[in-house]
């Protein structure tokens, strides 16, 4: 039941938005849908915590700890980005950014597009995490791409078209690889289980008998799936669309893409990881994941060191974090999985904060350039600027903020699994990334007063920032037991069975 609610709320919201004529109503509905889906997600999580797994339609929809966790995180990001989006878009209206892209009724159609597509986007992400059938899973992931393409082109600039094109094409290729992988998995299962029934593609079914699958097929299938969903998660070298899409999309959408979508992609990857790992043993999967993880973290380093726009900076940072999570999964063992999921949790709380602060800064100063920025944001944005700094510290894994703990856990996992070399590389990269990231943001925030008029009077834009920062700070010192239970349960699903 909870599953269905979770899926229906955003779907209906999006459907209901289309015929609407009044922007304020759309906003209200948007907020309601966000709140509703968050409650639904919490409900689902509660159900899962009470009784291991929740299913619907004889296992067509299926939620265990992992799904519940990712669903909750997605819903959370959706929840916080909704009010921010309202403020953000209102600000855009004031500044008449839609004016110059004057196709048809200008701003109204734009806003409707936004309020209709975002819930759809949310819906497809929820579908990703609750669909048991790997085929449906793939469809849902493709759905996230389709729903978000026109959110990327939202501003209709030349650059946003370019970004959207790259996003669409690379996403399309990636997903067809993922599909190929899925087909191969199905083939492997087909040899063992036979039959055309739908359940043959159900993860819960496959996981049970994965150990007997054909090794070669599974190996190829995992390679393709890794490349496919890796593209979606933005692992190097399939990451190239990310900086463009993230810097062109509106800040709230970028926040959703940088956290929720990445989580979903990694979720899909993790599902296949379990199957392959049960079939082939840990060695093969982990070496691939470690390779791609390190590659992603490493590729982020130079681009962060000499970055020119802070929106792209954030994009590279999320490539880096996708890499870190992949690395955690790759190191494996109970610690690795735990570290990865903790990191996912904390990342989903911190990254939106960064995007919101960056969005506020960008809307206030009119550009997101690091080069010709006078600095001294602190004087004009008394809320966002310091929080930007705080979020930067948090995202770069600085204590007391919680990402430090998850990164440390992943490090330990690496040592436990004897991957000393990779761990050392990891540490070097992370330090370098911190240097670049913090250098840029500090120069942005600190400095003498550039004489920019004092900004941010819209509660809609400041309250989410304040709220999120509070959560970030609190998470550094207090991790609520249920969340930890969820994470732990999920980690047990991913952990290598001895």
């Amino acid at each position: 039941m909870a599953i269905l609610t979770l899926l229906l709320i955003p779907l209906l919201a999006s459907a209901a938005t289309v015929p609407m004529r009044n922007v304020r109503r759309m906003e209200l509905l948007h907020l309601l849908s966000a709140a509703g889906s968050f409650l639904a997600a919490v409900w689902l999580a509660a159900e899962v915590l009470r009784s291991g797994t929740v299913t619907w339609g004889d296992g067509f929809l299926y939620a265990d700890y992992l799904s519940a966790l990712v669903a909750a995180l997605t819903a959370f990001v959706y929840l916080v980005s909704a009010p921010y989006a309202v403020g953000y878009l209102r600000r855009d209206e004031e500044q008449q950014v839609f004016a110059e892209t004057g196709n048809g009724r200008g701003s109204f159609s734009k806003l409707r597009k936004y309020y209709a597509l975002t819930p759809l986007f949310g819906f497809s992400m929820f579908l990703v995490v609750v669909s048991n059938n790997l085929g449906v899973l793939w469809i849902a992931v493709e759905g996230t791409t389709l729903a978000s393409i026109f959110l990327v082109t939202f501003y209709g600039r030349r650059t946003s078209l370019e970004a959207a094109w790259k996003y669409a094409i690379l996403g399309g290729v990636g997903l067809s690889m993922a599909l190929f992988g899925t087909v191969l998995t199905y083939y492997a299962a087909h040899q063992i289980l036979g039959g055309e029934s739908l359940n043959v593609l159900n993860w819960s079914v496959l996981a049970a008998s994965a150990s007997q699958f054909d090794k070669t097929v599974m190996r190829l299938s995992f390679i393709l799936v890794l490349l496919g969903y890796g593209t979606k998660a933005g692992l190097a070298p399939m990451h190239t669309w990310k900086p463009d899409a993230y810097s062109e999309a509106p800040a709230p959408v970028a926040a959703l893409m940088a956290t929720a979508v990445v989580n979903c992609a990694l979720y899909a990857l993790a599902r296949f990881y379990v199957l392959t790992e049960r079939c082939l043993g840990p060695a093969f999967v982990s070496q691939l994941l470690i390779l791609f993880g390190l590659l992603s973290i490493g590729i982020a380093v130079p681009f962060i060191l000499v970055q020119r726009s802070y929106r792209r900076l954030l994009a590279y940072s999320s490539i880096d974090h996708a890499g870190i999570m992949a690395l955690g999964l790759g190191f494996g063992g109970p610690l690795g999985a735990l570290g990865m999921l903790l990191h996912m949790t904390f990342h989903s709380v911190t990254k939106p904060l960064l995007f919101f602060c960056a969005g506020n800064a960008q809307q206030h100063t009119g550009n997101d350039s690091l080069r010709q920025h006078p600095g001294g944001l602190l004087h004009s944005l008394p809320v966002s600027a310091p929080m930007f700094l705080l979020a930067t510290l948090a995202i770069t894994g600085t204590p007391p903020f919680s990402m430090f703990q998850s990164e440390f856990t992943i490090l330990r996992a690496g040592f436990a699994a004897q991957h000393v070399g990779s761990v050392i590389l990891f540490v070097i990269f992370v330090v370098a990334i911190f240097c670049g990231f913090f250098y840029h943001v500090a120069n942005l925030v600190f400095g003498p007063d550039p004489g920019v008029p004092r900004g941010e009077f819209s509660r809609w834009k400041t309250l989410p920032v304040i709220g999120l920062s509070l959560i970030v700070v609190v998470l550094g010192f207090w991790l609520p037991a249920p969340i930890y239970a969820l994470v732990n349960g999920a980690a047990r699903i991913l952990a290598v069975q001895p």
């Binding site: 370019e162 094109w165 790259k166 094409i169 690379l170 290729v173 990636g174 690889m177 070669t216 190996r219 190829l220 390679i223 393709l224 890794l226 490349l227 593209t231 070298p237 399939m238 190239t240 669309w241 900086p243 093969f284 691939l288 590729i299 380093v301 130079p302 681009f303 060191l305 000499v306 602190l378 510290l393 600085t398 204590p399 007391p400 430090f404 703990q405 440390f408 856990t409 490090l411 040592f415 436990a416 000393v420 761990v423 050392i424 540490v427 992370v430 330090v431 911190f434 240097c435 913090f438 250098y439 500090a442 120069n443 600190f446 400095g447 003498p448 007063d449 010192f477 207090w478 991790l479």
Partner: protein, 682 residues
């Protein structure tokens, strides 16, 4: 028996309250200075409580350990107050107390004017974090506290973020600190993996379970990782950049105790986690110590920015401390626990002493800065008449840091000498030569330090003022003076009362080497300090002080003999016949250090330019413009090239992202092909 645990926790609570109050004050925009004062008071209370806790920890028989409440399931805030921790807490809380007293009068002025409340909040955060660093009992907690220190320090340094100088300094500090932490990560985890636990208690003597390679690697990583924080050469460049630009009470804390966190870490690793190390380890530490000491003081001599000068002296003194540690390591390798204990005591004692007098000097410099609004010594002079007590305290600090009897600096340097001397007899062939050479260089360092502080004190406080500000300087407020007074007193007491202080180290050396030698270090019923035994050499600071007073009064005796009180008239200084001696005629700081600049030209590569304007002939110059600078070797030849190299490589790598979708697709395509081949193969 003290309620140590309660005191400790109460102290933490006080600090925390300070932080909370500060933030509240800042958010509600109540920037009035009484809030700041209240918060300073909180930190004072916290410091005193921690002081009590430290005493308790030193008196306690076993180590006290407990864990603080943690809201995170997989994270326990284990706390342990073993003698070493207690000792550092002692140092910390002493300095913290005096700095808080000083801050009463200090906050709310110049750089901290914007929001004193927030400033005090960060100050409390720094103190809290340091307390945790010194007492954390497992790696994760330690690293958290460790980084927290860096964060707090960073924000204190850049508190005046409108000045580019402090932004730059703070950033350099923060980034290098993170680099160090990176090394610590790996080093610690290497140990932890061997021990199978993150608890310090489990890490005791873990080195036995390590393969030599891993052991060596972890040792170097940890040594240099902590070295960054301690400011050893060549990892020191952040120190002269960051310490001077911070508000002075912060600089005092940073040079006084924050860099000692690095020393604490080394002590913890060298003498708790590691058993006997190979000889090269000890030699490395010794050599690094010597180099840091010597180069530190040489660079200090070239400075005429008062606070930068002091900062470089921190590098020097860290070097001296490391000489003690290094010889302790060597002695342990060759199986001389007694000597090892002596050397360790020398190092640890100097740690405390340096903390005290460096803090004192920075507070003094802060007062001068407060009064004259400049850090440039060339603009000062004559302050001894305008701010007499500051001058007195600064002088005491200067004597102490120059290692002159009878103050505390002398005692710890004396022990260091004795340790080095003993080293010659105690170690086999070639290693032994290292010790006396190190001793000689230590002597050179000390003498140069003396020269440097003759310059620092003489140019700053003596003779005529060189600028308007110095002319109209006023003595600082009572609280600031008393803050300095406490430390000056500590300098004297630690110097004269050394014999009574030494037993503190017994527990530590006992833990490290299984010997307690304070009994042997004291002779003549608590009157003499000895180097392990009276035969090896003795000194008595108390007696020296007394004797100096007695002998100093001899001359008065002469006046008494020739019952003629000799007449004193005061007249102008000899001005070579040109009427009116002005500040123009005075010797400048630059001129003072010129001989040494020439002698060590090979190191400094001094560059100078002189522009003279002439009126009628070359014999009657109208005005001179003289400018001289030395080449900052490490910045210019190590870090500069490194930075440019990294950045240029990075900008070359940006070409990976040219914007061509075909290229992007090609990446994926090639990856796919390769992996397919790999998949079919594997």
């Amino acid at each position: 028996m003290l309620p140590t645990r309660e005191l400790y926790i109460a102290g933490l609570v006080a600090y925390t309250l300070g932080i909370a109050a500060g933030l509240a004050g800042h958010v509600t925009g109540m920037a009035r200075s009484w809030i700041a004062r209240a918060i300073c008071f909180l930190s004072l209370v916290g410091a005193l409580l921690e002081f009590g806790a430290a005493i308790g920890g030193l008196l306690a028989s076993g180590d006290l350990s407990w864990s603080l409440a943690s809201g995170i399931p997989y994270l326990n805030y284990g706390v342990r107050l073993d003698p070493l921790s207690a000792y550092f807490i002692l140092a910390l809380s002493l300095l913290a107390a005096s700095v808080s007293v000083y801050s009463f009068g200090y906050v709310g002025h110049h750089s901290t004017r914007k929001s004193p409340a927030l400033f005090c909040a960060f100050l409390n955060l720094l103190l809290l974090a340091l307390t945790l660093v010194f007492t954390a009992a497992n790696i994760l907690f330690f690293l958290i506290a460790w980084e927290l220190t860096a964060v707090a320090a960073y924000f204190l340094i850049v508190f005046d973020h409108e000045s580019a100088e402090s932004r730059k300094g703070g950033l350099l500090y923060f980034l290098m600190a993170r680099g160090g932490t990176g090394m610590l990560f790996v080093g610690f985890l290497l140990l932890a993996t061997a021990a199978g636990s993150l608890e310090f208690s489990a890490l005791h003597g873990v080195s036995r379970q390590l393969s030599p390679m891993v052991g060596a690697g972890a040792f170097l990583l940890l040594f240099f990782g902590f070295g960054v924080k301690a400011g050893i050469i060549p990892l020191h460049i952040w120190l002269p950049a960051a310490h001077p630009v911070a508000p002075s009470n912060v600089s005092a804390l940073m040079s006084g105790i924050v860099i000692k966190a690095g020393i604490y870490g080394m002590a913890r690793v060298f003498f708790d986690f590691y058993g006997a190390l190979p000889v090269w380890a000890g030699l490395t530490v010794l050599v690094v110590g010597v180099v840091s000491a010597l180069l530190g003081v040489l660079y200090a001599l070239m400075e005429h920015d008062l606070k930068r000068l002091l900062a470089y002296h921190s590098v020097e003194n860290i070097g001296i401390i490391l000489m003690g540690f290094g010889s302790a390591l060597l002695f342990r390798s060759f199986g001389h626990p007694q000597l090892a204990a002596l050397a360790l005591i020398a190092g640890l004692f100097h740690t405390l002493n340096h903390g005290v007098f460096k803090c004192l000097l920075f507070l003094g410099a802060g007062s001068v800065l407060h009064a004259t609004q400049t850090r440039n010594m060339e603009q000062m002079g004559g302050l001894i008449r305008r701010m007499p007590s500051t001058a007195l305290y600064f002088l005491i600090g200067a004597i102490a840091i120059s290692g002159l009897p009878p103050l505390n600096g002398f005692v710890s340097e004396w022990f260091t000498y004795q340790a080095l001397l003993a080293g010659f007899g105690a170690t086999p062939d070639l290693t032994r030569v290292a010790f006396p050479i190190a001793g000689a260089l230590l002597a050179l360092t000390a003498a140069l330090a003396a020269a440097c502080f003759v310059k620092a004190f003489g140019i700053t406080f003596l003779a005529l003022p060189r600028s308007e500000e110095a002319e109209h300087a006023r003595e600082v407020s009572f609280s600031m003076r008393s803050g300095m007074a406490i430390l000056a007193l500590a300098c004297v007491l630690l110097g004269l009362g050394a014999t009574w202080f030494l037993p503190v180290f017994d527990a530590i050396t006992n833990r490290a080497f299984g010997v307690a030698i304070s009994g042997d270090l004291v002779a003549g019923n608590g009157f003499l300090l000895t180097a392990g035994s009276a035969m090896r050499g003795t000194v008595s600071t108390v007696a020296i002080a007394l004797a100096l007073m007695v002998l100093g009064s001899f001359p008065l005796l002469f006046w008494f003999v020739w019952k003629r009180k000799s007449v004193q008239v005061s007249g102008p200084t000899w001005d070579c016949g040109q009427p009116g001696l002005t500040a123009q005629n005075e010797y400048t700081a630059t001129a003072f250090s010129k001989p040494l600049r020439m002698i060590f030209a090979a190191l400094f590569r001094p560059r100078r330019e002189i522009q003279a304007e002439y009126e009628v002939s070359a014999y009657y110059p109208k005005s001179f413009h003289f400018e001289s600078e030395i080449e900052p070797t490490f910045e210019a030849h190590v870090y500069g090239p490194l930075r440019t190299a990294v950045l240029s490589i990075s900008s070359r790598m940006r070409r990976l992202q040219t914007g061509s979708i075909h290229l992007y697709l090609a990446y994926v395509f090639v990856t796919l092909i390769l992996l397919l081949l790999f998949g079919v193969r594997g």
